[in-house]
């Protein structure tokens, strides 16, 4: 079995445990407001940490392609919503920068 497959299955186990434990052990759902906010904010903070500084290093030869791509994605997402269109907008923009504005 490949290393990646092992990581994937470990992630699956973690996700399943998070979901199944409250069904087996009734813990109730009255959480203190601080804990609730903590859980709400976590995914948003994660997205921020995933974008920066990763976007700068995603195109080591031409960082402008990454920055132009994510700008196009952000704009498309703001205007149209959804996930597919912003992704395609970013691929198209990055492709244009890589083809026509090489460093």
């Amino acid at each position: 079995m490949s290393d990646l497959l092992l990581i994937i299955l470990a992630c699956a186990a973690v996700n399943y445990l998070l979901r199944v434990v409250p069904f087996i052990i009734p813990i109730g759902d009255k959480l203190p407001p601080y804990v609730k906010r903590f859980l709400d904010y976590m995914p948003v903070a994660a997205l921020g940490a995933l974008i920066l500084p990763g976007i700068i290093t995603s195109f080591p030869d031409n960082p402008a392609a990454g920055i132009a791509g994510i700008a196009a994605a952000g704009l498309t997402s703001w205007l149209t919503g959804g996930l597919i269109l912003p992704v395609f907008a970013s691929i198209g923009t990055a492709w244009i920068v890589l083809q026509y504005f090489p460093i």
């Binding site: 973690v14 759902d29 791509g69 691929i91």
Partner: protein, 246 residues
């Protein structure tokens, strides 16, 4: 299949499946993007499909393939996924109370299919939510997520090289597309994301902490501080859980 038709023909099952149609469409397209990006992150088509089949989770899967592509250690990936998906624990706790399942097999299967969208639909449905309804809702959602990845890895195999190069930034585009709707809901999401991003940048470049751990530390630190500072409840997603808890 014939012997099982009683499960799939149950009116509540069909009702649940119908309720899951918008989820199916959203999952299919997102998951197709996942399939394409997984290939450019170095996963095999088989690994990508197994990932979707067994994990059934959105942003955390994208995060994981991003970390895999940058060669981050396994432990850091699993901890990041755990932290990002802690919310499932809360959703399951709330659903467990609402559904009141008795059979062990139902608990084992239905808990597997708890996602943000399934949770929202089931929680907001007035009155009693039957096991058949949950099955229809979850099986349809799972089919959308798994089918999308299969479609994505099939499409990705035909993409030319220059396009694959241009795709190395598309994961970040996806993160941005996930983030923008949160920012539209309230300015706090913008503060959270920018703080976490800046902290991660400093930890990585100035303190030379590895990419996986710097993400974990930034997530935890920024969230802990923000949850303490923002005392009153605002709009960024909290209201769904609020309603479910009542």
């Amino acid at each position: 299949m014939k012997t099982e038709t009683n499960i799939f023909m149950h009116p509540d099952f069909i009702d649940g499946a119908r309720n899951a149609l918008p989820i199916f469409i959203g999952y299919f397209t997102t998951s197709a993007a996942f399939g394409i990006l997984a290939l450019s992150s170095g996963l095999t088509p088989f690994e990508a499909v197994v990932f979707s089949m067994t994990n059934l989770t959105g942003a955390a899967q994208f995060m994981a393939i991003n970390l895999m592509a940058s060669g981050v250690l396994a432990g850091e990936i699993v901890i990041s996924v755990f932290l990002m998906n802690l919310r499932y624990f809360v959703m399951s706790a709330s659903l467990a109370r609402k559904l009141g399942l008795q059979k062990k097999i139902d608990k084992a299967v239905i808990s597997f299919g708890v996602t943000d969208e399934v949770f929202t639909v089931a929680s907001l449905k007035p009155g009693e939510v039957s096991t058949s309804f949950m099955r229809g809702l979850q099986y349809t959602s799972w089919l959308g997520w798994t089918g999308g990845t299969i479609a994505g890895v099939t499409m990705g195999a035909f993409f030319p090289r220059s396009l694959q190069d241009a795709m190395s930034g598309s994961l970040f585009a996806l993160f941005a597309a996930l983030l923008v709707p949160e920012i539209k809901k309230g300015y706090r999401a913008a503060i959270l994301a920018v703080s976490a991003g800046l902290m991660n940048t400093v930890l990585y470049y100035v303190c030379h902490i590895s990419a996986g751990w710097s993400i974990v530390i930034s997530m935890l630190a920024v969230t802990a501080v923000a949850a303490a500072l923002f005392s009153d409840d605002d709009t960024s997603g909290a209201e769904i859980q609020e309603e479910a808890c009542r």
